[in-house]
Symmetry: C2
Subunit: 467 residues, 2 copies
């Protein structure tokens, strides 16, 4: 039998407990932006939260590097410590909230909390995307829950939507804008005609990008998130190591403008798509800058906002939109998880939502990530040529290489960088039908030697999503 | 103690039951569009659904008017009957799915099922919007759950989002396009310049509107849904009788065109907004055609699609988008509820999500719907005048009536109906700042006697939503 860690601390008379249930006692590791937001929202909305949860939710212990700073946030309401393991294992703590971030010590703290029989709430996508399989297995073994709504698109209850709201569906794909920093940069590039470096500098100045923005701009943060979404959508293990990850650092303003000319916008998309065609049985798991039709709802998601689209075989296409970061926005997710945990007291695992939406026996260990070469999408190619007359030459050559050319045109002057005279390169813009990445890669490599081609060819994926 | 109706039917050895849990046995009342979709999806995705629910979900009994038709849908997989009360009370049924619709006999069936100790899943918004308080009270009394994700915006798990995903938040407002028929008609009117009657006829021909479309086009269906959303957002009783309900039957194509000229689109919105200003403490609960800025995400929701926006004090603005009707789209919601119910076996009410998101003791019985006169929004006025020169006259007169005029212009020729010559009326278009409905109503009434005014004045609300 599973013994609930909270229940063991209850007064012995269950009748009294039922009338006035004891608050859920929270130990928190980390009291930075997310931790302090969580404290603030728990305090401000405590009556409504208790009315929903059926019991209070009380922060009883906080681990912080700076106790003085922690004291300024939580006052004397909670015990303070420098020792994360004390919070993870303390008998007065029912649930451990890990909002310190990082993977290496966080993994040990979370595993220690689980072994101590405590439920865990975390917003740490890096941790779960890399160590989720181990952590979920440990939680199953110890009969506790690890909740992580705050790990993906914080203000949007997308984990709950996937693993509870859409349980009837065979999920076909999940695709979304799940990194606010890069969406802010891409919006700036498009709206103000900026290059990547300028837009990044603006994002940093405005607090939308960190001093070291690598995780965001290289697509790693989005890849952590799409990995977790895929695990919940398809009932597959967490497979971050197999994801294809491409950021926006090499994206040129010229391609943003050329995409616009073709009726598209460029977004950094996380895509997880189930594929069952011939020998390619598996999952596309990838983060890439991609062209989305300008009229598509995802193209309307601007600034630092996030949106996740899900295609289910019964529900059809649904979309979930909201802020992807922020102190209280993340607190919203962390506290929703705490309210769920507040209801777990006395339940068995069969009465709970499993960590990845699927019970362990139903998780498909065989479901693998397809290699890059097997991914099929439409493509955008920009081929710099010496003269505009070479447009047909390029088009004919691509068709001969089995690239299914759908549309070809020259970049108009207004798409070209200011000051480009008639002597500048002409840019041949190509849209293809769906084609294997391998075919495109081969063609692009060969194009480098084509006499008409004046500079490196740029390719981007075109996501032709329903919805 | 609450005795779970399912548990009482379990094999006595709980060890054996834990290893191979018995399927959840579903009795269904009604096997029309939604019922047959539910049967189909349950059958098609049964392995994945069981993998998520931790046990199978099996349709064991169906009540239908035509047994022959029911037999064609479910074959010999389920017992068939004409008697809804048999399904509602049968000992072999764990959970009753009510998808027959209507309020009058449906209420009695649902109450009978509750009294027989069965959980209920229903997609019946009319039933819950009018009898929800009684039904939820009965369910609490008998220790069972009534789940109704399918009652609002079927493909979108919005009930779950409000009452579980956003539990940290004090909800400030909920606003949405929650009737697909009217959104289809409005999209047609705008895109093809049709009048209401023509657009309705097209919707009927294409199956987007019923032969008797009254519930949809008069806003009643949307009012049922916003009533349920408000109950979950604010923890208030179901107060459909107090909602202000205005449909789109009187909407003129001219106003769709004039709104477009001003940079807006007209949508039938359900709005529930908490207000705490001076003596107006309560909730706006209303369904009305309203102007939404054309660049706003809600304005991009076209055809028969639905979208619900929620503003929480912590999460900020979130939006949930998807199909609002359809056989398998509704099945998606019904089955999600069934999976939740499958996990309730052996739980107590304290371990469950309460019917309206708030536990009974926390439901605010005092929270009332504000009267129409007290509602504050921006407004659009279209004032037909004899000559274009009278535009200033109207504007000055409105300001004198305490209507805070923000912008005034004349309708351009292309907004006017084809064939309008220079001798036709001029249309003065006015946008106001936020103003009490009472002030606008008074001004519009008085305007009728103004010598410049050539025909009845049209007013519509302008919803200036964040997001």
């Amino acid at each position: 039998m599973y013994r609930d860690p909270v229940e063991s601390l209850e007064p012995q008379s269950s009748h009294v407990a039922a009338l006035a249930p004891r608050p859920l006692r929270v130990g928190m590791i980390g009291i930075g932006t997310v931790g302090s937001g969580t404290f603030r929202v728990l305090a401000r909305n405590q009556a409504e939260i208790a009315g929903r949860a059926g019991r209070g939710i009380k922060l009883v212990m906080v681990c912080a590097r700076s106790l003085a700073r922690a004291m300024r946030v939580v006052g004397r309401d909670a015990a303070l410590t420098n020792d994360p393991m004390l919070v993870a294992t303390h008998p007065d703590v029912d649930v451990v909230v890990e909002v310190a971030g990082g993977t290496s010590p966080a993994r040990e703290w979370v595993l220690a909390a689980i072994r101590a029989g405590k439920h865990v709430v975390t917003a740490n996508k890096a941790l779960l995307a890399t160590h989720g399989n181990e952590i979920f297995a440990a939680a199953r073994q110890h009969g506790v829950t690890v909740a992580y709504e705050g790990a993906v698109a914080v203000s949007i209850p997308i984990i709950k939507a996937l693993r509870e709201g859409l349980t009837a569906n065979r999920i076909e794909w999940v695709a979304g804008i799940i990194n606010g920093t890069t969406n802010f940069i891409l919006s700036k590039m498009r709206e103000e005609g900026l290059g990547f470096a300028e837009a990044l500098a603006q994002a940093q100045a405005l607090g939308y990008a960190e001093a070291d923005p690598t995780f965001d701009i290289e697509g790693i943060d989005a890849a952590h998130k799409i990995t977790l979404l895929a695990a919940n959508a398809f009932g597959m293990p967490v497979r971050f190591a197999d994801a294809q990850v491409e950021g926006i650092t090499r994206l040129q303003g010229l391609d943003v403008a050329c995409a616009e000319q073709l009726g598209f916008r460029i977004k950094l998309l996380g895509v997880a798509r189930r594929r069952k065609e011939g020998d390619a049985d598996g999952v596309e798991l990838r983060v890439q800058p991609a062209l989305v039709p300008a009229t598509h709802l995802l193209a309307q998601v601007n600034g630092s906002m996030n949106a996740v689209m899900v295609k289910g075989d019964a529900a059809g296409v649904t979309m979930f939109y909201g802020a992807g970061a922020g102190s209280e926005q993340t607190a919203s997710a962390v506290i929703a998880d705490l309210v769920d945990v507040a209801r777990l007291q006395g339940t068995t695992p069969a009465q709970r939502v499993p960590h990845q939406g699927f019970h362990a026996h139903a998780v498909n260990e065989q479901l693998a990530v397809l290699p890059r070469a097997a991914v099929h999408t439409r493509h955008y190619l920009r081929v710099p040529v010496h003269t505009a007359q070479q447009v047909d030459e390029v088009s004919t050559w691509l068709a001969a290489q089995q690239v299914p050319v759908q549309r070809v045109e020259l970049a108009r002057d207004q798409a070209l960088p200011a000051g480009s005279g008639p002597e500048a390169q002409a840019q041949v813009l190509v849209l293809t039908d769906a084609v294997a990445q391998a075919t495109v890669d081969r063609a692009v490599q060969a194009l480098a030697d084509h006499p008409a081609v004046a500079a490196p060819v740029v390719t981007l994926r075109v996501e032709w999503l329903e919805g």
